[in-house]
């Protein structure tokens, strides 16, 4: 969501002259090659049906990915696209977005692609606040290479590469993004089409780097990883839906709530036992990410309680806008560069 007064991420992207595009319009002729039941299908469907709603010229949308099951995404979206190499998509997208402010650039990657080999490009794109939308398909496993643990896998994970259980502590992608100065940070779930679409729309409209963690099921190598957030028995108490301007409550009938402790932390409380005012009201526009960071620590899938929604959405000059403004300003001031003048600049002498 664009907060009033904020410039939209799509400002410079040309729109169609009214003619309504459809999902079909955004569906490529390539046969989708994910496993039956893969969570990626739901995300693809959501993208294909929400993109037309933006009313942009389809040819001005580009989707760039690295390598992985998730990274096959661009092939199936009928826009411009590049299926690049493992981990480098954020860097490639940075160049494209900086050179072409008239494009809406989407970057797709898995938890290996973005958080493992591509981690550095990710955090730098986020800190620079390049106007690109980064969608992390987090299935907490390496799918395409047939099931090794990933930097988001829970400790003790038994996989092909860790027959005795993994011993390394995972990243919390939302925390990492907030520690990387990211201006838009959100988390959503593959199976919750409505929520997913709302978050994607907000990301699209955010001017700057938008980081969206999508919890995605890999039904071959990590099936059920997010069942606790999906299963009707558990989901109400496991999923904490963050909504801007609303007090943070969850549970079947909002019987649980989140409030600040006096000691600089958060606590989950029984809303029936406290004054509504004492609940923490979610505000995505805090200039400082500290409170959003605190919310990111409320818990993740492993602890049950998992906040989803937009954690942070603030405006900060984007890298690409500033690069282009410097060019415009210099040109406005000094005029378009004169090659002859450049070549003959500095100390010169004439031989006749």
């Amino acid at each position: 969501m664009t907060v009033p007064g904020q410039r939209s991420g799509l400002d410079l992207v040309p729109v169609t002259d009214g003619d309504k595009a459809t999902k079909k319009h955004y569906t490529s002729d390539q046969e989708v090659r994910w496993c039956p039941g893969c969570g990626d299908y739901a995300i693809l469907a959501a993208m294909q049906s929400f993109l037309p709603e933006l009313g942009l010229k389809r040819e001005n949308i580009v989707c760039i990915s690295g390598i992985g099951c998730a990274a096959r995404f661009p092939y199936y979206l009928n826009t411009y696209g590049m299926h690049s190499i493992h981990g480098r998509a954020p860097a490639i997208a940075t160049g494209l977005a900086t050179a072409r402010p008239d494009l809406s650039v989407w970057v797709i990657g898995g938890d290996g692609d973005f958080m493992s080999i591509g981690g550095n490009h990710l955090i730098h794109a986020l800190r620079r606040n390049v106007n690109i939308k980064l969608l992390l398909f987090n299935n907490r496993i390496y799918g395409l290479t047939k099931g090794q643990y990933s930097p988001t896998s829970e400790v003790g994970k038994l996989t092909k590469s860790t027959p005795y259980g993994s011993v390394d502590h995972p990243f919390n992608p939302v925390s990492l993004a907030l520690g990387s100065e990211t201006t838009f940070v959100a988390r959503t779930i593959d199976s919750d089409r409505k929520h997913l679409t709302a978050v994607l729309r907000a990301a699209a409209e955010h001017r700057g780097a938008a980081f969206v963690e999508i919890l995605q099921n890999c039904d071959i190598f990590n099936d059920g990883a997010f069942d606790i957030l999906k299963n009707p028995e558990t989901r109400d108490t496991a999923v904490v839906r963050l909504e801007h301007g609303k007090a943070i409550t969850f549970g079947a009938n909002g019987e649980k709530g989140v409030r600040l402790t006096g000691r600089g932390g958060l606590e989950v409380i029984d809303t029936t036992k406290v004054q509504p005012e004492s609940l923490l009201v979610h505000d995505i526009t805090h200039t400082e990410p500290a409170l959003a960071f605190m919310l990111s620590r409320l818990g993740n899938v492993d602890d049950g309680v998992t906040p989803i929604g937009i954690f942070r959405s603030v405006q900060r000059a984007t890298y690409d806008d500033q690069v282009n403004e410097q060019i415009d300003a210099a040109t406005a001031a000094g005029g378009v560069g004169d090659l002859a003048a450049l070549l003959s600049s500095g100390d010169t002498w004439r031989i006749d």
């Binding site: 411009y80 590049m82 480098r88 494009l103 690069v323 410097q326 040109t331 002859a340 070549l343």
Partner: protein
């Protein structure tokens, strides 16, 4: 007193001092004066990798050599006729290269016991007779400068710092250089600090006058201007020329320039230079690492920019995977490798030609990339434009192999007329190029041009041509993912054929063989052009018959390379590596090429090359 004036055809001066003594600046200024005077010239800066190694130590010595003459100059020269040594370390580090009888100007103030000890001089060489075979001019440069600046409102440190300008003034007098450019330069440099400006100018003039009056110099030299083609000249380093070439390529192709780069010696100056040229629409991206640098450049190319990445050896290693992607995406991209001494970190400020095979083969799979190498600082300009022409016409990454010697070295450059520069015509595809079975139009990103084998370049924003490209093998034509064995074989050979085909679109290798009957061909590439040329001239003066050819296109090789090689009984290949071009030519033409290699991080001395040529020619009977 009036001094005797001696004529000289050529002079080689080396300024040497502490990293903090401003020798590079002094050399640059003397170069400008000399250029303006109209001599032909060539320069070789030589500085340590450390920013400022401890004062007065050998690792801290920074030097700048300049060769100027009344005729055309090909190298910075082997051994200096004049050595300016600002301290004992500078003397010790450079003395062994000084020929007997050479002029030796030392700053006697610095020859203190402490400084002498630092570099292991038991006694001062100025006192014992160890320097007897040189013309020693022992001058207290520091104190003279400080004295000249008495009364200025500057710190003692600043006064002492001005000693390099004093020395410059002195040498400007000694060789009768025009001083205007230096004076205006100093005004500019210290624009903010008028007192410092006046002080440095005063020091400079004091040096000049000192030369005029002192007994220390009994003669003064004159080197007549060289006969050069008429026109406007400027002095230019390889890195500046390369930067200008890239800007020119952008202007002449109409493609905005995008540089994605990560700083690394000796390539960083290209990033610095291009970052200035916003008015040409140049976008420079200082990336988080080399992979991001090339990645961003490739992304920009996908968007229709002229994508460029600049680096040196270690950076090329890291870019390997992305270069392979560019090969299979078939997008234009220029990769500039300013070679330095390897392996690994090696000697970062020194020159080497040891990345040729890396550029040829440094990627998994069959991933051919065209390779160009400039042969002089100013040639970096033309090479950059040629690289852009090939990259855009054939939709391929292109390597430009420069090196630390070309990058920092300089020479006078006849500034070209912009309209005379090649026009680079690039057409983006805007229409479908294929018909579906049902006859409706579609776009096939890998449907090639019959002649160039280049694929169409359709950029985002073009309606109707939405398409996806990637690193997985593609079906010939449609570009769809394909694991078909025969298709893969076809695509591998197509990519190779596209690059090989460029051989017919580049100038033939031309040979300098005046007598036309030489039996030995000296074949080089890149920055050895000057030294080889000088060596060839040396031996020819002795009547030795030898031919010289120099490869600017290393992949593919010019179509006539086989003929040229075939015309000679022996081929001598001098390289600053262990014989990398030799390996390629031996494999390709089964010619028993003779490799002459030196891997010292320094350009060849023309004398050692001359010896090598004499040996081969001598043995050739």
């Amino acid at each position: 007193m009036s001094k005797q004036v001696r004529q000289r055809e050529r002079v080689i001066i080396r300024f040497a001092g502490d990293s903090g003594d401003g020798m590079q600046l002094t050399g640059d200024r003397f170069t400008s004066e000399t250029a303006e005077f109209g001599n032909d010239l060539s320069t070789l800066p030589d500085f340590p990798a450390e920013i400022r190694a401890p004062a007065g130590t050998l690792p801290g010595v920074s030097a700048f050599q300049l060769h100027f003459a009344d005729h055309d100059v090909q190298t910075p020269g082997d051994r200096p006729d004049v050595l300016v040594a600002m301290n004992p370390a500078a003397l010790k580090a450079n003395l062994h290269e000084l020929p007997t009888g050479a002029d030796l100007i030392v700053n006697s103030d610095e020859f203190t016991p402490r400084n002498l000890a630092k570099v292991g001089y038991a006694a001062s060489p100025l006192e014992d007779d160890s320097l007897s075979s040189y013309q020693v001019h022992s001058i207290p440069l520091t104190s003279l400068t400080v004295k000249a600046l008495e009364g200025f409102e500057i710190t003692r440190k600043d006064a002492e710092r001005a000693k390099n300008m004093f020395a410059l003034g002195m040498l400007s007098w000694l060789y009768n250089r025009p001083t205007a450019t230096t004076l205006t330069f100093l005004e500019k440099k210290f624009a903010g600090k008028p007192e410092l400006a006046r002080a440095n100018i005063t020091a400079f003039n004091a040096g000049w006058n000192f030369g005029e009056t002192t007994e220390a110099f009994t003669v003064r030299y004159e080197v007549m201007p060289a006969a050069m083609r008429p026109g406007l000249y400027r002095n230019i380093t390889g890195n500046t020329a390369l930067s200008y070439g890239l800007v020119a390529a952008s202007v002449r192709s109409g493609l905005p320039l995008f540089l994605g780069s990560y700083p690394i010696t000796p390539a960083s100056d290209i990033l610095h230079e291009l970052a200035k040229h916003k008015r040409f629409g140049v976008r420079t991206f200082q990336a988080e690492d080399e992979i991001a640098g090339i990645g961003a450049a490739l992304g920009a190319s996908f968007g229709g920019s002229l994508g460029v990445t600049t680096t040196s050896g270690p950076g090329v290693d890291l870019k390997s995977e992305a270069i392979g992607l560019a090969v299979t995406l078939e997008l234009p991209l220029i990769i500039c490798d300013i070679q330095r001494a390897g392996p690994s970190t090696g000697m970062p400020t020194k020159a080497e030609q040891s990345d040729l095979l890396l550029a040829m083969f440094g990627r998994h799979g069959e991933a051919p990339v065209p390779i160009l190498a400039p042969q002089s600082p100013s040639d970096c300009f033309d090479t950059a434009i040629e690289a852009a022409r090939i990259a855009t016409k054939y939709r391929t990454p292109v390597f430009v192999l420069s090196d630390a010697y070309l990058a920092n070295g300089s020479e006078p450059w006849l500034v070209p007329d912009v309209d005379s520069l090649p026009l680079i015509e690039v057409e983006f595809t805007t229409e479908p190029n294929h018909a579906k079975p049902d006859g409706s139009p579609e776009f096939w990103p890998y449907l090639r041009d019959a002649e160039t084998l280049a694929r169409p370049w359709a950029v985002p924003g073009t309606p109707g041509l939405e398409h996806r490209i990637g690193g997985i093998e593609k079906a010939d034509g449609s570009g769809n993912i394909s694991y078909d064995p025969t298709n893969h074989d076809t695509m591998v050979r197509l990519r190779q054929a596209k690059v090989d085909g460029i051989a017919h679109d580049i100038p033939p290798l031309d040979v300098d063989d005046p007598t036309g009957d030489a039996g030995v061909l000296v074949l080089g590439w890149g920055s050895t052009y000057g030294p080889i040329g000088a060596a060839v001239r040396l031996v020819r003066e002795e009547g030795v018959r030898v031919a010289h050819a120099h490869l600017r296109h290393l992949n593919p090789l010019p179509a006539n390379t086989a003929d040229v090689i075939g015309r000679y009984r022996k081929v001598l290949i001098p390289e600053m590596n262990l014989g990398q071009l030799a390996l390629l030519l031996r494999a390709r033409f089964l010619v028993d090429a003779i490799s002459f290699t030196r891997v010292r991080g320094m350009p060849f001395k023309s004398e050692e090359l001359a010896d090598a040529i004499r040996d081969v020619v001598g043995a050739d009977v």
